[in-house]
Symmetry: C2
Subunit: 192 residues, 2 copies
DNA sequence: ATTTTTTTAGACAGGTCGGTACATATGTGA
DNA sequence: TCACATATGTACCGACCTGTCTAAAAAAAT
């Protein structure tokens, strides 16, 4: 095969699930978009749920890679990188077709219903927070775990608020709040 | 009729839509739960979408009323009431069957798809923010709009994080961050 | 007691859902 | 050239979807 059918299914699934929701998107629409036969989907994934899981796993990988690259590109200063998180989110909110975070959306649809899918969101949150925790560690503050939690709260809040209101400016408001909690967090012991 | 059928439909719809999602919940399940005939639903609401809209409208009213009562009950001090928002949210997160905010869930399913439904979430956010704005106004800070936005971000972030992780403790983390931004916000001009 | 409104059960329509079966075709490597 | 894996189209399954219809029953109002 010149083109990997499996890949096309994941890409089509990502686009359609994100745009129209998971439950509302039928298998047939994914097949039509991917240009693939139904049996091929079930050979590769076995079920719609498994396809969704794989779509989320892949989206998590690429989103975190994108976020890290954006943060590193925007600043080299440890504190600047924390603020760069919010700038990257602002750019994300302004992408055409932005419809919130697919993991928060998946949680809204599947938490308490399809745990194997919801687990992907937990995992993405865990990995994203671990990355932010690393950025915070470089910023030398007294309580890095607390600051990490505050930044995560502001980031998630910005996503939710931006999705509901359609206003990407929530990213800048969150950035301002982040600047305040970063400065408000007492610095750790100075290295002499 | 001894019992109002319309009311039963709204209550059954709220419970089922919240627990299992909007798209995933069929009309028939709502009818069975409400103990009502199908025609009665369509006489009262005309469509599933209209029922969802009414469910959200009613849920918004009762949630905001509950939140206001909780905040007033927990503190009389202006700053204490801002923190009481987060304490009320913590109690909410710990309610059995908590599955996030039904408005954020509705936005995840319907934003960009069924605007008449998504609009209910926008309206709820608007009214909730107006209430918080009033609380902030009483706290006498220099930039009440900014503080309102920061509190909203932390509240929404707490809901999203608590839903994904299942950990209600995010409410206390958000409360700590709120205390920081409240204290970090310079006080407004003192009345002599 | 009679009229009027509301609610009922159940069948029905026209689709879509996720998933399976099967026989054919297409491409690949030995 | 032959064998093998992969992908194809299409039909099909039973279940479920929202919404409509009808004719009878229950309830409310007069």
């Amino acid at each position: 095969m010149t083109i990997d059918k499996r890949e096309q299914l994941i890409e089509a699934g990502l686009a359609l699930f994100y745009r129209n929701g998971f439950t509302a998107t039928g298998i047939d629409r994914v097949l039509a978009e991917a240009g693939v036969a139904k049996m091929t989907l079930y050979k590769h994934f076995g079920s719609k749920e498994a396809l969704i899981r794989e779509v989320l796993r892949r989206r998590g990988e690429s989103f975190r890679a994108w976020l890290m690259a954006e943060v590193e590109r925007r600043s080299t200063d440890p504190r600047g990188r924390l603020l760069a998180l919010f700038e990257a989110y602002g750019a994300w909110f302004r992408e055409p077709g932005f419809r919130g975070c697919i993991f928060l959306n998946a949680t809204a649809e599947f938490c308490g219903i399809a745990e194997a899918i919801a687990e992907q969101s937990v995992e993405h949150a865990r990995l994203t927070q671990a990355y932010i925790r690393g950025l915070v560690a470089a910023a030398n503050v007294e309580d890095p775990d607390a600051l990490t939690a505050w930044l995560v709260l502001l980031l998630n809040g910005a996503v939710a608020s931006a999705q509901v209101s359609g206003e990407a400016a929530w990213a800048e408001k969150a950035r301002a709040a982040a600047a305040l909690v970063i400065d408000g967090a007492p610095p750790g012991q100075q290295i002499p």
